[in-house]
């Protein structure tokens, strides 16, 4: 039995009840006006001034469709996930994914043919998680990454050098902690959310391997997570800061000497601190370890429920593949991101010196992208376990064993589906 959402809504609308509460989704009747069909394009709210005006300018410049941009504050992932279940969602939208379930559920459209001739120009690390079953499901917009920021002057005062291993990071954080300044800020939850699976990669392991197996069923994983507990137990971590890790406030207000944050914060940090800061990847741990940091990208996707899939794909090809000047402007003029196109990275002068150049180098040398098979259920189980290890001193070995079980079950579930 399939009662579609449409039938239900039609019944409701027939009763004259829903007509008054339907919000404007940006989708019109279609076909009106000279510019062709109306497309609704959704973005999440970027913090940097000017981004909203920029994307509206790009959309207005497109002459084959009437594109209405919606700028959506709040829990964007939840909003899009809910909207994709209905017919009143967007035609094209940016997505922190798409997730494996969205792809397998047929909620997004295959975009592989748009990449003809330019596929090699996209950063392979961020293109990989948009690819499933040999098909590409979203166009990477810009590359974002997380980084460890440190204050040079505070490290010098404490006689500490930038840490080269996780053990050195633990020691440095302890040495840098004073009455009013903490050594390290990994987020108000002590690092479980912000670091996530990065420590596994720093230990030379992975979350899910390339052939779809659990990548951290290894004693080294427990050993590395135990060191994060050490940071917490030493009281070296800043906790309960008014602005969480994604915001550089704690770092520039000198509540902490080092902070895990994003590349997006680099202009703000530079403005406040000038040259008095440096960036690092999460240092390596153990003999097989290597420094690690996550790279990822919001992708532009087409909703499978759109009435104008063909036009929507054409629009995306125009904006995110053909119009390189817009892509460059979007990546570098507001906030700070690495362009997803390798040819644009080479041209970008802003990325050629100082910490920005370091960041670009790290992104190619140490960057890993969260695998598509690392599903939300796996992530929750892992993050819960990591939080218990860090905050309550739970045994990393047994916590990880139960996570491995959950992840195996999730991997089996995703393989079962077509």
């Amino acid at each position: 039995m399939t009662i579609s959402r449409r039938t239900l809504l039609a019944t409701g609308a027939g009763l004259g009840l829903l007509t008054a509460c339907g919000s404007n989704t940006g989708r019109g009747g279609g076909g009106s006006g000279s510019k062709g069909p109306r497309l609704a394009q959704w973005y999440h709210q970027y913090g940097e001034a000017g981004t909203e005006q920029a994307v509206k300018r790009y959309a207005a410049a497109y002459d084959k469709a009437d594109v209405a941009v919606q700028w959506r504050p709040g829990n964007y992932d939840e909003q899009t996930a809910a909207a994709l279940l209905t017919d009143s969602g967007p035609d094209v939208f940016e997505v922190n994914g798409p997730t494996l379930d969205q792809i397998q559920g047929g909620q997004v459209v295959d975009l592989t043919d748009l990449f003809e001739g330019v596929r090699d120009d996209f950063n392979p690390a961020v293109l990989a998680p948009k690819t499933y079953d040999g098909k590409i499901w979203a166009i990477p917009q810009v590359v974002d990454m997380h980084l460890l920021y440190y204050r040079k002057i505070l490290l010098d005062d404490a006689g500490v050098r930038p840490p080269k291993s996780l053990d050195e990071l633990v020691d440095a954080a302890k040495a840098l902690t004073t009455k009013n300044v903490k050594g390290l800020f990994l987020g108000n939850d002590g690092g479980a959310g912000a670091l996530g699976i990065t420590p596994l990669y720093a230990a030379g392991l992975s979350s899910v391997t390339a052939d779809g197996e659990v990548g951290f069923d290894d004693p080294a994983a427990a050993r590395t997570l135990g060191k994060l507990r050490q940071l917490y137990a030493d009281k070296s971590l800043l906790l309960g800061a008014p602005a969480d890790w994604a915001d550089p406030s704690a770092f520039v207000q000198e509540l902490t000497a080092m902070q895990w944050c994003g590349l997006w914060a680099l202009p703000a940090v530079k403005k406040e601190l000038g040259d008095d800061f440096g960036v690092l990847a999460l240092p390596a741990d153990g003999p097989d370890g290597r420094p690690a940091l996550p790279v990822g990208s919001y992708g532009a996707a087409v909703s499978a429920r759109s009435d104008h899939k063909k036009e929507a794909k054409e629009f995306l090809k125009w904006l995110w593949i053909d119009k390189t000047e817009y892509q460059e402007d979007f990546a570098l003029s507001y906030g700070f991101h690495i362009p997803a196109r390798l040819s644009l990275v080479k041209k970008a002068d802003k990325l050629k010196e100082g910490p920005a150049a370091d960041a670009v180098r790290y992104s190619t040398e140490y960057g890993y992208a969260e695998p598509l098979l690392w599903t939300p259920a796996s992530r929750t189980a892992y993050q819960d376990a990591l939080s218990r290890v860090i905050k309550s001193g739970a045994d990393p070995d047994s916590e990880l064993k139960s996570v491995v079980r959950t992840v195996r079950a999730e991997l089996a579930r995703t393989k079962k589906k077509p």
């Binding site: 399939t2 009662i3 579609s4 959402r5 239900l8 409701g12 009763l15 009840l17 992932d77 939840e78 996930a81 809910a82 994709l84 279940l85 922190n96 994914g97 997730t99 379930d101 969205q102 397998q104 559920g105 909620q107 009013n180 987020g187 108000n188 939850d189 002590g190 479980a192 959310g193 912000a194 996530g196 800043l238 906790l239 309960g240 800061a241 008014p242 969480d244 994604a246 509540l255 599903t375 939300p376 259920a377 992530r379 929750t380 189980a381 993050q383 819960d384 376990a385 939080s387 218990r388 905050k391 309550s392 001193g393 139960s402």
Partner: protein, 303 residues
């Protein structure tokens, strides 16, 4: 036709007044409720019209899920604590305000005002300015006067300071509202009862409270307890706003609604599993409420 409308059009007016509400209730409460029960028997990832029937699998995996059973324990502990605490505090406030000769209206309003504040706003004030973890937070400033170390209130699990934050914000928001209910109850008690007690030699204070005031407040107390328990079951806003961050929710102090929110409506979009959890939760609430009503003799004739 006139038979259909009833005498003086009563039937017509009944439906004019009741109809819109009943329709809304059916459309926005009962239909989603039934739909949710339907979904709970399917593997419904990212869809509300699933095809993959899985029987009771969602229920068994939910009941075997430690995170979910832990969240049930969390909220049982939370209710066991917050219900008596709010009850005692609001009763005490009511007794004190009731004894005031002057400015009673003023104090009544002052204590009631927080009830007008949104849970979200209050939670943010508690999180960002009173109980933040750095040296300029209000609570830490006070600790600093006594030379004590700063505490990261919401991030510390040993001891679990986060409960202090959660419980105080809820008490501040709720106590005034229940105080008003108790005040109304107190003002209904006939003064002649107290006079008679005084003549019989009852000592003012505990004895009068125990044998006159509390028995007379029985109806109010039952109502307040029921409302408090239901409120505790529905805990979501302040938990979510105090403890969640952009990457999720910590594994402690996680009420079932918050856990289900992340399962069903977060990026996970596992609507089948989430619905199964919601049905289990609804059943528990139903059993507890019915049990409680039996226990208090709700609906029985007052004697």
């Amino acid at each position: 036709m006139s038979r259909l409308l009833g005498t003086q059009n009563r039937t017509l007016w009944f439906w004019v007044f009741v109809g819109p509400f009943a329709l809304g209730l059916v459309l926005f409460t009962y239909v989603p409720l039934a739909w949710s029960v339907y979904l709970s028997f399917f593997d419904a990832h990212n869809t509300v019209s699933p095809t993959d029937f899985v029987g009771l699998d969602n229920y068994t995996s939910m009941l075997r899920n430690d995170a979910f059973t832990d969240s049930l324990v969390t909220f049982a502990v939370f209710s066991a604590f917050i219900v008596p605490t709010t009850f005692v505090l609001s009763l005490a406030l009511a007794l004190m305000v009731n004894r005031m000769r002057r400015a009673q209206a003023f104090f009544r309003s002052v204590f009631f005002l927080p009830a007008a504040c949104s849970y979200v706003v209050a939670a943010l004030i508690w999180k960002l300015s009173i109980f933040n973890g750095v040296r300029f937070g209000l609570a830490n400033t006070v600790l600093g006067w006594f030379g004590a170390e700063q505490v990261a209130w919401l991030s510390t699990t040993e001891p679990p300071w986060y409960w202090l934050v959660i419980v105080t914000v809820r008490l501040w928001l709720q106590a005034g509202f229940y105080m008003i209910l108790f005040l109304a109850g107190l003002q209904r008690i006939s003064p002649t009862l107290y006079e008679a007690a005084a003549v019989d030699g009852a000592r003012p204070g505990w004895q009068v409270l125990r044998h006159i005031t509390l028995p007379q407040l029985r109806a109010t107390s039952v109502a307040v307890t029921l409302l408090l328990v239901i409120n505790a079951f529905q805990a979501f806003d302040e938990f979510y706003n105090l403890l969640s961050d952009s990457r999720g929710y910590p594994p402690y102090a996680r009420p079932p609604l918050v856990y289900l929110y992340y399962t069903a409506l977060g990026q996970g979009q596992n609507l089948g599993l989430g619905s199964a959890g919601a049905v289990i939760l609804a059943l528990i609430i139903a059993v507890v409420t019915v049990g409680q009503a039996r226990w208090f003799g709700l609906g029985r004739k007052e004697d």
